[in-house]
Point group: C2
Chain length 347, copies 2
């Protein structure tokens, strides 16, 4: 499969040209499927490439043309939902010449800026930014430099395409499900975003807004009860402690993310209550562990695979035509009901 010993000098396009008795220009054209190559020439060059095991140097290509590299920025590699998106991405890009490279865990704006810059420095042909928390100014700047698709963040931009799930509708799915089971005291744990700049664009804010709107639509405006912590296990734990300390305890908790629900389950167990007999819990993201039998968490499933596929498609389109007007794709979530939600206690 591979030559046993690595050649001391890497094969270049010049070697291929010599071996095939043609110009480097011709080889380059074949490599890029460019216009102006006869079938005979193409075959000859292809054979020389195969015989020598030639592989183009991406850095050198990038200096004049493309690097055939797409950078993906993930905020948190631990969230399996992002893996889902990534699968959609890579599946869609598998048949192309593009190679996907991931920027590692970017928590915070500085880290995001570092990674986006690093990708631009490496002449990547396109960027996919998943749930970025950077300022709009930074995103617009990035998108002005390189074709960019932003995933999981609401708000339109003229500079970049975006793909997002309808978090507003997703929140309503949870509220409606709980109401249908008979709940009225439905509380929500949100991620408290301090930055007002991009507040309105973040999924957590949309989920909280969707929760409130859905409660009002159900005639439960007075029951709206939000604990503001963070999308983390600890945030869920603390938020739930707050909610359980209310004079009138909620009978259901809608956690803004599955990991938050994990913290909620902790706090509920510590308080000596049972799920779902005493209190129902729902999450968001339908992460892998939500399906594990001991957890069996009711959760909102975002079509991660489709999100990724759409992002890839938009990015390829934009690489092909940078002037194309920006597109926004919004996908619909679905509710997966499991064993953490049930009718409220009758008492």
């Amino acid at each position: 499969m591979d030559t046993p010993v690595a050649p001391s000098r890497r094969i270049t396009i010049v070697d291929v040209a010599q071996h095939a008795q043609v110009s480097t220009t011709a080889v380059s054209k074949v490599l890029r499927n460019a216009y102006g190559v006869s079938p005979k020439m193409r075959d000859r060059v292809r054979q020389a490439i195969a015989e020598l095991g030639y592989r183009p140097n991406a850095g050198a290509r990038g200096m004049r043309g493309q690097t055939y590299t797409i950078g993906v920025m993930l905020p948190n590699i631990r969230n399996p939902f992002f893996a889902e998106i990534l699968d959609g991405l890579t599946d869609h890009l598998a048949d192309t010449d593009y190679q996907v490279l991931l920027g590692p865990g970017c928590n915070g704006r500085d880290a995001e800026a570092k990674v986006t810059h690093a990708m631009i420095d490496r002449s990547m042909d396109g960027l996919i930014l998943i749930a970025p928390i950077s300022t709009r100014a930074h995103l617009d700047h990035v998108a002005a430099t390189v074709p960019t698709v932003v995933v999981g963040r609401h708000g339109r931009s003229r500079a970049y395409d975006s793909v997002a799930d309808d978090d507003f509708a997703g929140a309503a799915l949870v509220v409606d499900h709980l109401v249908e089971l008979g709940h009225t005291r439905i509380a929500h744990i949100e991620h408290h975003e301090t930055d007002r700049d991009c507040l309105a664009e973040m999924p957590n804010a949309i989920r909280a807004a969707g929760y409130q709107q859905a409660m009002r639509a159900q005639g439960l405006a007075d029951e709206i009860d939000i604990a503001s912590t963070s999308y983390s296990q600890e945030g869920g734990y603390l938020g739930t402690q707050q909610l359980l300390a209310r004079p009138v305890r909620p009978t259901a908790i809608f956690a803004g993310a599955d990991i938050v629900a994990m913290g909620a389950l902790d706090a509920i167990a510590e308080a000596g209550l049972r799920v779902p007999e005493d209190i129902s819990v729902a999450g968001y993201d339908n992460t892998t562990f939500a399906a594990f039998r001991p957890i069996s968490l009711t959760s909102v499933d975002q079509a991660g695979h489709q999100i990724g596929a759409n992002a890839a498609r938009l990015l390829l389109d934009r690489i092909a035509d940078r002037q194309r007007p920006a597109a926004q794709v919004k996908l619909s979530p679905t509710l997966v009901t499991r064993r953490t939600t049930a009718p409220p206690p009758t008492s």
Copy 2:
């Protein structure tokens, strides 16, 4: 923070040289902290760089020197254990000029070859391969081309450094723990590796061997019972079904990986048995979800963070000196006991 509108042309080293009234050579020297630059010159160039917001083009750098990029290949982005390693890596590399880029989910040898080649094509300065399943020949070939560290795979190579956890000892930790609780009928679910080429180097094989050795050491050679499936939820489910169908049921199951334990819990629940009252279950990897309260899985913790940090250190050393003899680092796992293991039923 950033210029609001992206400049039409990117700032190059020539711009910096002109602005600072020096040669491009001088700028290059400052960039690389190379020898032969007076403090005055350095300050002047640094200021010009800051004023213009210059960032070096990595592709161009790579053509002559380094790209300051380290590629990490992860087999499966969903396994939180790998995220742990990654954290150790990035923490250790945070203070350096190197940027980490991840190759996305590589399942299978072809995918691994594709990613490693892509990284080499991009002139990366070093590679970290996590739990690769490629042939030794391929690994040696890669390592001959670019500094490489292999993580989570046993077996020495002269071509690359390696970091691994002592899976043999980890398996013994589980067996000894279960024996201490009073178990004797301790079964194991392993990942069945068909490829004999790298069989002996893979962690799953070492764990299975460690299990057998520990059982013998405990005088339980006759109780050795292995279900050969795969390291997946389904593998755990099927393997457990096999084990539960035995004439004499095991009282404890040692799953070779946490995800396998999840499948085991499924099958056990379906069989109407309780954990840990009727049967104990232990996993391996101490993944994030193992700690979630409803799961509370006893598991073997590999010091992922330290593994990553060691890999980064070895790689930097090797980049600095490619002739250095290859090193092997072996770390010790620890057992985290939770609520899925308990004394066997007294009946």
